[in-house]
């Protein structure tokens, strides 16, 4: 979230699209209700199904799964055509006026630079035209034919209301009603908040779905302001923390990226990550990359990371090919290229696409270690549970170790919520049985492995042997100690320019500005610096005082970065530094300082007249309507059909689906077509359950006991399916047999002139736990991911459905 949960109440329009906030985030949804009641906000829901969120919406419109980009590109077209954009904001804070290189183009569904053989782009033409100083050229009158504004206008021109309706199946009147509501927030004092979640990410064009909405928000001047923003409602209580701390195959803590094979030396690595401002005077966090990196290496290797060994750069792994995401990992596992798997806090048998493939892949492992508080499907993948898990234990040689762990309520620690708050939590109960903390288990594995390396040597023992492990209890480091390590401390007395000591050796740091690149500071995660200071554990603060009753309580927990609650808050004020919305200012320029209820984006002394852009993560400091080379499939979003889709791509039939997506051969072979599988399916969760955990909890099992799918009345009638009757739902990859909920909430959509049926598949049931046994939605889902993130396309695929009888247990 760029904003906070509480801030939603400041919105004038709440758009829930690509998510189902009321069901997946019922507690946070209180702020939507608050916005409606206290702020007169309109709630708009766009979803293939009439959800529980839709049940309290002012306007609902259906949409075919996987067509959000068409819908939102149409919105952009509407805003430009009707001139309903916030001009001053767009001119000052976005790259609308920057001029794009000659040679950039888009034709028949492809941007310039496409490489057919590798399904990827040479992105060099996707950039600005630079002047002699290396700064981007601009035309703020938007007259230049290659300025971003004009290129964008041309790009979205095809998305007429007729075209949107033809692609999305959304009735035109509903669509235009929603366009008008969205457009109403282009007024400087009005804001729209975009609440989304996996409904946008779980597509082969997931990242672009979100980008399209971000562009809408930039045009409306809704980023950085109260009640605005792009608000990703995270699906797990600490999934934000997972990305913050870099638990992805190519990431490091604090959104630093792991070196690649092309960066054999520390200096080449530093050079490719060097921040080069694209506009004069632009500042950015990333200009401190070296400080963050060196401090991280000091946290990791302590004294062993020195200037003369390039801060142990060589001990870090180098990525050889893009991402080792889950789809690749399981493809490798299925091919025998991975033969050991430590599965911590994950349940791939339920959570990853194409369960049949997952089951097969796990069966090829030599060993599988599952660390989980619960008995998961993954840990029992080898066991025959009847039709819901038809395994043959005799043919599986995988040795499975189940290591029971504590759950969040059985340990101290911190969780990062969607609003980037680090909230400390305290242990409430002892863990049952032999459960141990993840820290205890990981430490145990580490100590044993280090001992083996010490005794037996190995190919490359240095990264293991030199790891710094100076904890009070080496066998189980205390969470507070780990939190302090992430925050960082001074390793020697830190002095300012005059030679005065600013931070004494050993003291905890107050903020990342104190980090140094000379090895005198250590910090495990620079964005967390300031979370645990000499003043104490800032994450444990519980002062709910909200000075302006505007949803910002600066002394409640701690928010990264630097306790900033609303990202890009500089953009909440106009060029002169006055709030766009005087009723809800966040920070304002008082003549000498930025002051207000939040921590400003950049140094509070930077004058408005310096024209430093508020989007300080970007080299031009501006919100990007044109993404340069940051996206795999193009600098502008384009509608591509899901990999399994019943429709042609009416915009460019030759390029149907995301041309830059990575698809493994075996997965491509497992795609179904609309002849055999004529119906669109989409998966989702229900409010009664949290993923695959709560089926183990009796109360949740009572509230939603048994697997079912949702089907519209028209299709049900066609197929002779009765309310609550048994159905067989199949995709190219598998079959599930469950009950049908015949509902008025899913109606056939008229897509390109033909009725298209959508079937909803909730994800929660498996073969362990208290609830009744289920097959699991991922039995059906395709193994293809978003071209940028490899998030699997769980939200749009093809199935067939038939009436059947109850499965024989």
């Amino acid at each position: 979230m760029t904003n906070t949960w509480q801030d939603i109440k400041n919105a004038n329009v709440v758009l829930v699209m690509g998510g189902n906030a009321a069901e997946a985030h019922p507690c946070g949804f209180k702020w939507v209700i608050e916005a409606k009641i206290e702020n007169g906000a309109k709630l708009v829901v766009v979803d293939p199904r009439f959800t529980r969120t839709a049940s309290v919406a002012d306007v609902y419109a259906p949409i075919r799964p996987g067509t959000d980009i068409a819908f939102l590109s149409g919105v952009i077209r509407y805003l430009l055509e009707k001139d309903r954009i916030q001009h001053e904001y767009v001119r000052a804070f976005t790259n609308a006026g920057l001029i794009v290189k000659e040679g950039f183009g888009f034709e028949d569904g492809l941007f310039t630079g496409y490489k057919e053989d590798t399904h990827s782009y040479d992105r060099s033409s996707w950039d600005y035209e630079l002047d002699e100083n290396g700064f981007a050229k601009a035309d703020n009158t938007w007259q230049h034919p290659r300025c971003v504004m004009n290129l964008m206008r041309k790009h979205v021109d095809r998305y007429t209301p007729e075209m949107v309706s033809r692609i999305c199946g959304t009735p035109q009147d509903k669509y235009l009603q929603i366009c008008e509501l969205i457009a109403s927030t282009s007024a400087p004092e009005k804001a729209l908040t975009s609440l989304f979640a996996l409904g946008w990410t779980q597509h082969s064009v997931g990242a672009q779905n979100i980008r399209t909405m971000a562009m809408v928000q930039l045009l409306l001047g809704n980023i950085g302001v109260a009640g605005g923003g792009m608000n990703a409602l995270r699906g797990h209580s600490n999934i934000q923390g997972l990305t913050d701390i870099g638990l992805l195959s190519n990431a490091m803590p604090g959104y630093m990226t792991l070196a690649t094979d092309n960066e054999p030396s520390f200096e080449t690595y530093m050079k490719t990550r060097l921040f080069k401002p694209l506009l004069p005077g632009q500042t950015s966090y990333w200009q401190n990359y070296r400080k963050f990196f060196v401090s991280f290496q000091k946290a990791l290797y302590g004294g062993a990371a020195r200037a003369d060994n390039d801060w142990a750069y060589d001990w870090l792994p180098k990525v050889d090919k893009g991402l080792y995401d889950i789809i690749r990992a399981f493809d490798m596992m299925a091919n025998g290229e991975i033969n050991g798997y430590i599965c911590q806090g994950f349940n791939p048998m339920q959570a990853f696409p194409d369960r049949g493939k997952i089951r097969k892949a796990l069966g090829k492992l030599k060993f599988l270690v599952v660390m989980d508080p619960l008995d998961t499907e993954t840990s029992r993948f080898w066991e025959d549970f009847g039709p819901q898990n038809p395994s043959d234990p005799a043919s599986i040689q995988t040795e499975v170790f189940q290591l029971p762990t504590t759950c969040f309520a059985e340990e101290n620690g911190t969780l990062v919520n969607s609003a980037r708050w680090l909230q400390w939590h305290w242990k409430a109960a002892d863990a049952p049985g032999e459960a141990q903390t993840d820290i205890w288990i990981m430490s145990g594995i580490y100590h044993r492995m280090r001992e083996m390396y010490r005794k037996d040597g190995g190919a490359f023992p240095d990264p293991i042997l030199n790891l710094s492990w100076n904890y009070t209890k080496p066998a189980e480091p205390d969470p507070e100690e780990l939190a302090k390590e992430m925050n960082g401390r001074a390793l020697t007395d830190l002095k300012d320019a005059t030679g005065a000591v600013t931070v004494h050796a050993g003291r905890l740091l107050d903020g990342f500005a104190q980090l140094r690149d000379d090895g005198t500071t250590a910090s495990g995660c620079w964005i967390f610096t300031g979370s645990f200071t000499e003043m104490g554990n800032q994450m444990a603060r519980r002062d709910a005082t909200d000075p302006r009753e505007q949803g910002i309580a600066p002394n409640w927990a701690w928010s990264w970065p630097a306790n900033r609650r609303i990202l890009y808050n500089r953009a909440s004020a106009d060029v002169a530094g006055k709030a766009w919305n005087p009723q809800k200012p966040i920070i304002e320029w008082n003549g000498s300082l930025w002051t207000g209820i939040d921590v400003p984006d950049y140094a509070p002394t930077i004058k408005p007249s310096d024209s430093i852009g508020p989007f300080i993560m970007n080299a031009e400091g501006m919100g990007r309507l044109f993404a340069r080379d940051q996206m795999a499939e193009g600098p502008f979003p384009e509608h591509y059909e899901p990999f399994e889709s019943p429709s042609e791509n009416v915009l460019h039939p030759k390029v149907k689906s995301n041309p830059a997506a990575r698809v493994f051969a075996s997965d491509r072979a497992a795609f179904g077509n609309a002849t055999d599988f004529p119906y669109v399916a989409t998966t989702y969760r229900l409010t009664e359950h949290f993923h695959y955990w709560t089926k183990h909890a009796l109360i949740n099992a009572v509230l939603q006991p048994e697997e079912f799918i949702e089907i519209g009345e028209v299709l049900a009638k066609e197929k002779g399916i009765e309310q609550g009757g048994w159905v067989r739902l199949s995709s190219k990859r598998g079959v599930i047999v469950c009950k049908a909920y015949v509902t008025k909430r899913i109606k056939p959509l008229l897509v390109d002139g033909k009725p298209t049926h959508v079937i909803g598949v909730p994800i929660h049931w498996g073969f362990t736990g208290q609830a009744r046994k289920g097959y699991g939605a991922n039995t059906l889902t395709p193994s293809v991911g978003d071209a940028n993130t490899q998030t699997p396309e769980f939200k749009a695929f093809l199935v067939n459905i038939e009436k059947t009888s109850a499965p024989v247990a």
Partner: protein, 303 residues
């Protein structure tokens, strides 16, 4: 917990005497369920199960999100979902939290034959005192809302207590505390009525011209009230009665019939007694025996 609390009673089932009711200053409470804010998340249902330690059976999917499928002895509140289309075909998904309405004039209490098995406190809460319950099911017949459920194991009737144990110590009911969107509010009945008025105004401004408060006069009002967007037709909300009142049959049975019946019985008995006093017993006389003997022996003499 009968003793002290009994002084709060304003009504007590099957009791011909006025219950102790010295605590008459007590404010009437109400739970206000704003259907227009409810997202059907069932947090209220979970909270009810947790606070009251209820664990219904794990059921089956039965063609809707209503789980368990109905109220039962261990399910005191239940979200009921209705897919409703208006005359123009616009779909609304109406979600209503069902449970005891805590009527001001409770039909269950009226029907109950067991003294003190159902009581009403001065704050308006209608509570079942299980130790006095005899399991006859009359409360089920008395209730205009189809709420009480008899447990086949212990033969006691159960329903929402409005968390009388929590309210008694100044807390809100568990469902109110758990509701994430503020769709369930709790306070004095007058405050809740005022707040409902504001909500109704807001709903009218959003085009729900028939928005209104459900506080049915047929049962003299309730201590659980609904804000409905379509207050003109409550029954679209999973059969919420349009005009609930205690059934006329129950009224007759528990009203006029009781004195009339006892009087009838007493009258018959008394009439018999006075007949005895006036006419005396009807005894066989010696002449009767003689006549009979004569008749019987006539046959013997004949041949």
């Amino acid at each position: 917990m009968a003793d002290l609390q009994s002084q709060d009673y304003i009504r007590r089932s099957a009791s011909t005497m006025t219950p102790p009711s010295i605590r008459n200053h007590e404010q009437e409470v109400a739970k206000l369920i704003d259907v227009s804010r409810c997202i059907g998340c069932k947090a209220c249902q979970s909270a009810c199960m947790e606070w009251n330690n209820l664990r219904p059976e794990i059921g089956h999917f039965e063609g809707s999100y209503d789980n368990p499928h109905d109220l039962d002895p261990s399910t005191w509140t239940l979200m009921r979902f209705t897919e409703w289309e208006d005359e123009e075909g616009n779909l609304e998904w109406l979600i209503r939290k069902d449970g005891c309405m805590h009527c001001e004039d409770p039909g269950c209490l009226k029907a109950c034959p067991a003294p003190g098995a159902i009581v009403q406190y001065a704050n308006g809460i209608v509570d079942f005192i299980s130790e006095n319950c005899i399991g006859c099911g009359y409360c089920v017949k008395g209730c205009p809302f189809n709420i009480p459920r008899i447990n086949p194991v212990d033969h006691k009737s159960y329903k929402c207590t409005l968390c009388s144990d929590r309210v008694g110590v100044g807390l809100e009911p568990a469902c109110v505390k758990a509701c994430p969107t503020g769709a369930i509010m709790f306070g004095s009945k007058s405050d809740m009525t005022v707040w409902a008025g504001e909500r109704i105004e807001e709903l009218k401004s959003r085009g729900f011209s028939n928005a209104g408060l459900y506080d049915p006069p047929g049962v003299s009002g309730t201590h659980v009230m609904y804000v409905l967007h379509h207050a003109d037709r409550p029954s679209i909300y999973a059969g919420l009665p349009d005009r609930p009142q205690i059934s006329g049959f129950v009224g007759a049975w528990k009203g006029i019939l009781k004195p009339v019946a006892l009087a009838g019985i007493a009258f018959t008995a008394v009439a018999g007694f006075f007949h005895w006093v006036v006419a005396g017993p009807n005894e066989v006389q010696p002449e009767d025996e003689a006549e009979a003997r004569h008749l019987l022996h006539k046959g013997d003499d004949a041949p």
